[in-house]
Symmetry: C2
Subunit: 251 residues, 2 copies
């Protein structure tokens, strides 16, 4: 098997990347056309949704996904399904065992704690960036969103893994305007969403969480960089500690 000898030279291809060259015309910015997002991408989205929505922590039985059945159900061939699976595997959602099957991954308690810790790292950096770069309007939007949540009757459901809670933290990350932070965190949040159903909703923690959020917003508004970072970090690490102590249903 002769390896190597790639193609580092460019083969003619004169015009560099015409696809990315935007015409400088004064057109009303028409959308990039309804480009069909390829079967592979559609399969990826559908599979990810399906996996996220299933309550995988309810039972301890292994959950296996059948390539051929999925391909049949989607009405496509195995190839795009396999490519979607490969991506989901690299993102930590499924695990492929050769000649055995593809199984949905259940995170261990340790892994969940590690993910929350990583999230703490990313979001605390985001908070820092917000105090330095975000506009007052953006931060005000954060407060508005939050108070809407709290005033509504959603308060009762504001446990750590609820959609509204995660959305709040997701907004903080996004306000950093750092695409890398956002992407990395997005994957972590998706994993979080999968655990939510099993969470023990403790009234105390919910109240504490709301107070934390308020303090975070205030620190951001006053541009207190170090304090904002610290509050965000400790809020997340507090959840990690809580999981470490009480989330015995994992494992």
């Amino acid at each position: 098997m002769n390896t190597r000898d790639l193609t580092p030279r460019r083969p003619s291809l004169r015009g560099r990347a015409p696809a990315t060259v935007r015409a400088p015309l004064a057109q009303p910015a028409l959308e990039p056309i309804a480009t069909t997002p390829s079967f592979k991408h559609k399969a990826y989205t559908a599979l990810k949704n399906a996996i996220v929505q299933m309550d995988i922590y309810r039972s301890r039985d292994d959950i296996r996904l059948d390539e051929r059945k999925l391909a049949q159900d989607f009405g496509i061939s195995r190839t795009p399904v396999r490519e979607a699976m490969a991506q989901l595997e690299s993102e930590g959602f499924v695990r492929s065992v050769p000649r055995r099957g593809i199984y949905v991954v259940r995170k261990t308690k340790r892994e969940v704690i590690e993910m929350i810790t990583a999230w703490a790292a990313l979001e605390s950096m985001a908070a820092r960036l917000i105090t330095q770069n975000a506009t007052d309007e953006e931060i005000a939007g954060l407060r508005k969103m939050f108070t809407t949540f709290v005033d509504g009757r959603l308060r009762a459901h504001l446990d750590e893994y609820s959609d509204v809670n995660i959305e709040f933290h997701q907004s903080i990350i996004k306000l950093s305007h750092n695409a890398v932070l956002t992407d990395l965190a997005e994957n972590l949040f998706t994993h979080m969403r999968m655990i939510r159903r099993k969470t023990i909703v403790e009234k105390d923690r919910a109240d504490r969480s709301i107070r934390d959020h308020m303090n975070i917003i205030e620190a951001l508004e006053s541009r207190a960089t170090d304090r904002a970072e610290e509050l965000v970090r400790d809020h997340a690490l507090g959840l990690a500690a809580h999981v470490a102590e009480f989330a015995d249903y994992l494992d």
Copy 2:
């Protein structure tokens, strides 16, 4: 196209992992045979190495990879090459343009800064964890590794993107014993390594970098959590600022 209807039931599969059950016999513990890592994985490794090693920032010409040629060179079919490509694409190393080709991705200046910022977030959290969890021996190993580097004649090459420099930071992340942090950072570091050749080696920054490293080690040794975190963070963010100011060769 009827979607959905996965296979959440587990298909028998009674004994969970019989492969790990060791026979209690007095046999010479024969190894589980050399299992060959799938062509897909081998192609992935080979491709990644090839991409990382090529000096992609030397020229501005697009670098295109040809599926068919690569498959031919590797002596395998297109399928595993494609699957490897898909993974590399999700990791941000290549970009696939339908009906056009697969191109090696060149990071923009903004993206590099964002990556360094994310790295700062991860490593500063790692530093925090080290002060709380790592053993004295582990931290001592860090100092030993570093002094070996500095004492040697490697000092001249200790610019921010050099292998030894990156290895130092990699070691810090690893000492956190947090697999999620480690994985996320690993990808960022790999991207870093690709930029190194174009770096302007400034003597001042190299010296500053060494001093920073020493301070970081001392903070870790004295278990100064907040200080270690701050030093690590500022060290990385300093590089980000440096790139923002001087790395005009990007873009």
